[in-house]
Symmetry: C2
Subunit: 418 residues, 2 copies
């Protein structure tokens, strides 16, 4: 047997992945796919600068929401194991002090204590590593604002469990939580170290226990200056995401209520399993119809370039809509939802191989909005009609209020305890 026929077939398809977008060989296609004004193209050589660091303290929102998505996330939720108000206060204070250290690329305490009988305060696996753009974002679940904790009066006006949504296939052990941590960084070891050492503080103080977690990778959400990343269905994800500060003010940040809630936001998290092996057996023309976009270019089916505005009214010669009624982008578009937009900050995940031998993977969907009903509105429509539903299952869910950043000397949510 010779490999020649295989090699020839391969040679005929030798397209550099980046050449598709930026290379001379791509010809007009390259130019056609450059992002629209306001977005910079990714440079020819992609490097990651791990020295970047973000401030934790400040006036305004917590980091990790407007921050351009880093390459990795560890998201973890916790159950409170005490109803002692002061214990929660101490945990939030210790978490805040520790997060400030971690985001600077510092240890949270001694690695080799002077006293021989002491345990290390920092678990040490991030020593010698850069800050790697780490952000840790803290969320408070509905149960935090309880009578038992004396916090019922401080409940953010719109915080409540999410309503049941069509196509929910939630697993109890991937759902809920009283506290959430979203640790994002360009180095997974830095993000994991942060989550691990914060979980350790929760446990040793007897305040909270781990509930569920997802590790994500990729940059499945577009930010300014980034080319749009792809999800594990191979489609660009985030082309129409929120990027303008004015849109953050209008759609993401809480603008009313008590002072300590302003520039807060509501975090919705969904673990969305994708049946990627089934997806891979679908013809691409159907995949395009499901999304309403071209897989290769990301252009809407009514356009030729990724950032072309979809024309939802356009019909084919037979009178049928070019972007079908059940297309994902039609159902999710702000034009078709009274202007509702949410900030998506998604990451790809894989859990390896499932019990049937199939690749187990999907999307860790994190969204931020100033009203959880905005997410519910979109997901109610998508869950009922989206052509994508054949290929996805929402298996995990949570909702949290994310207070604004603390100023130096303060801590997350301090005003609640005043």
């Amino acid at each position: 047997m010779t490999l020649k026929h295989l090699s020839d077939a391969a040679a005929a398809l030798q397209i550099s992945r980046r050449g598709l977008l930026f290379g001379a060989a791509a010809g007009t296609a390259g130019a056609a796919m450059l992002p629209a004004a306001g977005f910079a193209a990714t440079p020819e050589t992609d490097t990651i600068d791990l020295s970047q660091r973000h401030p934790f303290y400040g006036k305004g929102p917590q980091a990790g929401i407007m921050t351009p998505p880093q390459r990795y996330v560890f998201f973890m939720t916790f159950d409170l194991t005490t109803q002692d108000r002061q214990a929660l206060q101490v945990l939030l204070a210790r978490w805040s002090a520790a997060i400030a250290q971690l985001m600077k690329g510092e240890t949270i305490g001694q690695v080799e204590p002077d006293r021989a009988e002491a345990v290390g305060l920092d678990t040490a696996e991030a020593l010698e590593l850069e800050p790697a753009g780490l952000t840790v974002t803290v969320g408070l679940g509905p149960n935090v604002f309880s009578d038992a904790l004396g916090l019922a009066a401080h409940r953010p006006a719109l915080l409540r469990p999410l309503v049941d949504l069509p196509s929910d296939a939630l697993k109890p052990d991937l759902t809920g939580g009283d506290l959430s941590l979203q640790a994002c960084a360009d180095d997974p070891q830095v993000a994991y170290h942060a989550i691990r050492d914060l979980a350790r503080i929760a446990k040793v103080t007897g305040t909270a226990a781990t509930r569920w977690t997802v590790m994500g990778f990729g940059r499945a959400s577009a930010g300014k200056g980034q080319a749009t990343p792809r999800n594990l269905m191979g489609f660009k994800d985030g082309t129409r995401n929120i990027v303008q500060p004015a849109d953050f003010d209008r759609h993401v940040w809480v603008q009313d209520g008590p002072d300590w809630q302003r520039h807060g936001t509501y975090q919705v998290v969904r673990k969305v399993q994708m049946h990627i092996e089934n997806w891979d057996t679908d013809r691409v023309s159907d995949q395009n119809a499901v999304f309403g976009r071209h897989k290769l270019s990301g252009a809407p089916l009514t356009g030729t370039k990724e950032f072309d505005t979809p024309d939802f009214a356009k019909t084919a010669t037979d009178g049928s809509p070019v972007i079908q009624d059940t297309a994902h982008i039609r159902l999710a578009a702000h034009e078709n939802n009274e202007g509702v937009k949410i900030l998506r900050r998604g990451f790809n995940y894989t859990d390896g191989i499932n019990q049937f031998g199939f690749l187990d993977a999907g999307l860790l969907f994190l969204s931020y909005q100033n009203d959880p009903a905005h997410f519910e509105r979109l997901q109610a429509r998508l869950g009922a009609s989206d052509a994508l539903n054949e290929y996805i299952s929402h298996i995990g869910s949570g909702i949290f209020f994310v207070p604004p950043a603390p100023t130096e000397g303060s801590y997350i949510g301090e005003a609640m305890f005043a």
Copy 2:
């Protein structure tokens, strides 16, 4: 409540992680911890160049063994689902052609085929991404060399299942496999795409099905020009690893047998669970005794710098050995094992949270050696006596022969079918 006492405590410990090694603030400690001659210090700003690419074809070993460890790995094993010799031949040929494409940063076929009824040949999630230093290394398990496949006569002389080892706690669904793929890259989406599309080829050809997989991160193995990375116990891992080409020739590459096996090697893989929450409750002085090294500097307990040679004969004033009899580095040292060395290429992994609410994490241990008995020798001693055994479990295992790289126009293992 005020945060002042917490802030003060934190301020007293504000040591930049990198400052510990390289900063002026570290004073003599910084100088003391610079790697020994032959290793370059990591530059002050750590960047990852994703444009790097490695050749697949060549004379000599496959890439991904001597290649300096990339930041991510997806390791996957497969069971043959046919005993048709030609089917295996086609799979190895198609895998080889695809891997060559992938390592160049190219697609393995059309994403949007011209024919409307066609499925995509490439799943597309790595479009626009750089090659990211991808290497895919193919291994052949003991069952490949069977009478049914007509390959029994080609079995590499030392290939056989590993012997049972003390402290084995192997789970059947994390053990074995007829084929292995080790995909390493500096971008996890590139590595995952490679594994996914190669698994898809195995499935659609009806030749092999996924068996078990581990995703790893970090650089838990030292290479030339890299500072030594840390495992999730917080210790440097790989200080005494093989780096010199002469040592590769002596310890890693097969030097005899048929031509097609020369510059091959035996791959041993172990999924080593680390009970990190238990570990974190141990005092650091004991952790140091367990490893025989200082956690912070990585220096042996008999020295002051990471690359100091351990002095296994040295005793304390009371006559006891400074590096205890059950210390990990004593049991693993080539000085104490008739010169045996193996190449370790380890990565950290996490599986999230286990059913008891504990962080589930560990080390994906990959080693390469020209005789599997070398691994067994070391692990037999470690499994019986290592003080570390209290904190680890070997839960997964596999062994594979890794043939040399094919030359262009050929494919992995082609000579077996001649």
